[in-house]
Amino acid sequence: MRKKNFAKLAMIIVAIIGVFCYYISPLAYSIKQGLDLQGGTHVVLEAVDTPEAPVNEDAVQRVVKIIEKRVNELGLTEPIIQRQGERRIIVELPGVKDPEKAIEILGKTAMLEFQDDSGVTVMTGQDLKDAKAQIDQSNQNLVALEFSDEGGKKFADLTAKNVGKNIAILLDKQILTNPNVKEAITGGKAVITGSRTIEEAQRLAILLRSGSLPVKVDMIETRTVGPTLGQDSKDKSEIAFAIGIGAIIFFMLAFYRLSGFIANVALMAYVLMLLVALKMLDATLTLPGIAGIILSIGMAVDANVLIFERFKEEYRLGKTLRLAMDAGFDKAFATIFDSNLTTLITAGVLFFLGTGTIKGFAITLGIGIVLSMITAITFTQYLLKLLISSNIFKDGRAYGASGVKHNEKV
């Protein structure tokens, strides 16, 4: 029985240490990374009222659709577009190559107008079917427009009425081009010239394809983290994590010896569980989130310290190892529960009131508190019971408890 217990214990310990050393890095890297770690752009847009176009639910929904289209045209791997509250839209563009251009495309109203000679708007972007950037034979950059059936008719009508005169194509009230009409154009196609580069023509084409925004949209926040800084933050967090956890493991071994060793194994299991939980919840790991993890490890140790201190007290009172350990867990439980619950309250408040990275921090902290409580109360206890019942180490000193008084009594 004793030998069996010890074998079981040894197997569990070896398994956890093995899994920890082998999987910790791939596991950590498989969790989705925030923009501050992988680099990218975060934009907050807000729909604002204007006399011509007051904001309503329908308008905001259309804005979201259009922004989605524009973002998709950028061809990024995992963009996020999210409504926040009534009027705000959050856009996250991880790994975007040219953030400035992306920001420019997102914020444009992109209202396309065709005006006749007297400045009356005859057609709008809604009459378009498609827009493509092209380079023509004379090496000129242009955007080729294809109209819808109705748009084609309108355009034919517009050009027929204005032969010999100029018509104007405007984007956001600015003239893009005002060609002279030589003859009526009936094919349902037209081109916009005047783009300086092919990239500019492409951007214009994206804007025209996705359509114009129905209301005024302001960009109230933009944040961009370059890939260099992101990588640097990742490397540094890794070092901070390794040193932090290394110091704690050493500390626990030095002060609590065998029980400290068991606690360290439980701690490794805790870190693995925390990462798995974050992965399963599809949480995003941010820089403050990593800080939250490192902190929660510090706090996870607290539950163990509480139990071990209680155990030492009980042992000093003359109880056997097993009874002292049981009493230690029992008496420390209320303390662990109350102290962690109050911390959980603040994590909860952060979660419900905070936004963005702060929310990420609150999630890691909150999950960390719950998991650390569970590992300390169940897992550490289970391992320690196995260890004690294997009866190999009988002296309290092996567990970090001074056994002087105890020995005298026995």
Partner: protein, 305 residues
């Protein structure tokens, strides 16, 4: 061995706390905080040039755009050096177009650079964050008060909340005195400190509660009871603050520039939290409890007459 009498000297600890808090409060009232763009709104440019540049050089370029009163800060390992490759520029809220123009201008004058980070926060967002931060802290305190009153009693709750208010003010004071930048993550740091401080206090209170149940009879010595409880949990208090500080110091030293202020706030807050649990919260509880007991006693004497 006679243990050091902590509770008996409680008036001294109150004075120590007040002496620590006063400079910070004066600083907050007079020079306020170095608020980052998260609070004020504005634009931040974090650039790494291919050669070291000086503040004067950068300011000269910004002058062309009437931005010469912007905050320019060199970042890097060597703090005494007057030039660095890594420069932080904090300006008023620039439109995205203006920012592009300024960035091009900087590139033309000062040579190649790599954009590490750019941030632009509208003024609306800033004022929202301030409100959010204040609400978050008030709600936390109220909820903690309710929970502790429910699990313990109101006198414990109010002592704990006063102690954590003490910690928050210590951190605010230090940040104001040193004029360290306050940003959105600072709010998260404050809330974390609240979480830690209350956690630490509850452990001692829990022991006091247990000892009250087991050993206390009416009219007994509260001071001694509180002292015993503090000393019974002292090893744990020290060990835990050490492990948490290990983690925080690692974060501060090796975690990189972006989390430096965050971990610094935690460092101050956790230290203060550990101190206040022993030297502020527990003595306050004794003071409140004594006051209530004396009042009750006086009432009884009155009715007896």
């Amino acid at each position: 061995m006679k243990k050091f009498d902590i509770i008996g000297r409680r008036k001294w600890w109150y004075i120590v706390s007040i002496l620590i808090l006063i400079p910070g409060i004066i600083s907050m009232a007079t020079q306020g905080f170095n608020l980052g763009i998260d609070f004020t709104g504005g634009t931040l440019l974090d650039l790494k040039f291919s050669r070291p540049v000086t503040v004067v050089e950068v300011r000269d370029v910004l002058k062309e755009y009437q931005l010469d009163n912007s905050m320019i800060q060199l970042a890097g390992n060597n703090e005494t050096s007057t030039s660095a490759e890594n420069v932080l520029i904090r300006t008023v809220d620039l439109s995205d177009e203006t920012r592009r123009v300024v960035l091009t201008g900087i590139g033309n004058k000062l040579g190649e650079y790599n954009v590490l980070r750019t941030e632009r926060v509208g003024a609306v967002m800033g004022s929202e964050l301030t409100l959010q931060a204040i609400w978050a802290m008030l709600i936390s305190c109220v909820l903690i008060c309710i929970y502790v009153s429910y699990r313990f009693e109101f006198k414990f709750a109010i002592s704990a909340v006063l102690a954590l208010t003490h910690d928050i003010f210590v951190v605010l004071g230090v940040f104001s005195l040193l004029q360290k930048e306050v940003d959105a993550t600072f709010v998260a740091a404050l809330l974390t400190i609240i979480g830690y401080s209350i956690n630490d206090t509850i452990v001692i209170f829990d022991r006091i509660r247990e000892n009250l149940k087991l050993h206390y009879r009416k009219g007994g010595d509260l001071v001694e009871l509180a002292n015993t409880s503090i000393w019974q949990t002292m090893t744990r208090s020290i060990y835990t603050v050490f492990t948490v500080l290990f983690a925080t110091v690692a974060l501060y030293l090796f975690g990189g520039e972006t989390t430096k202020n965050f971990s610094f706030a935690l460092l101050i807050g956790f230290s203060s939290g550990a101190y206040s649990s022993i030297f502020t919260a527990s003595p306050l509880w004794v003071t409140f409890r004594n006051y209530a007991d004396n009042k009750r006693l006086a009432e009884k004497m009155k009715t007896a007459k």
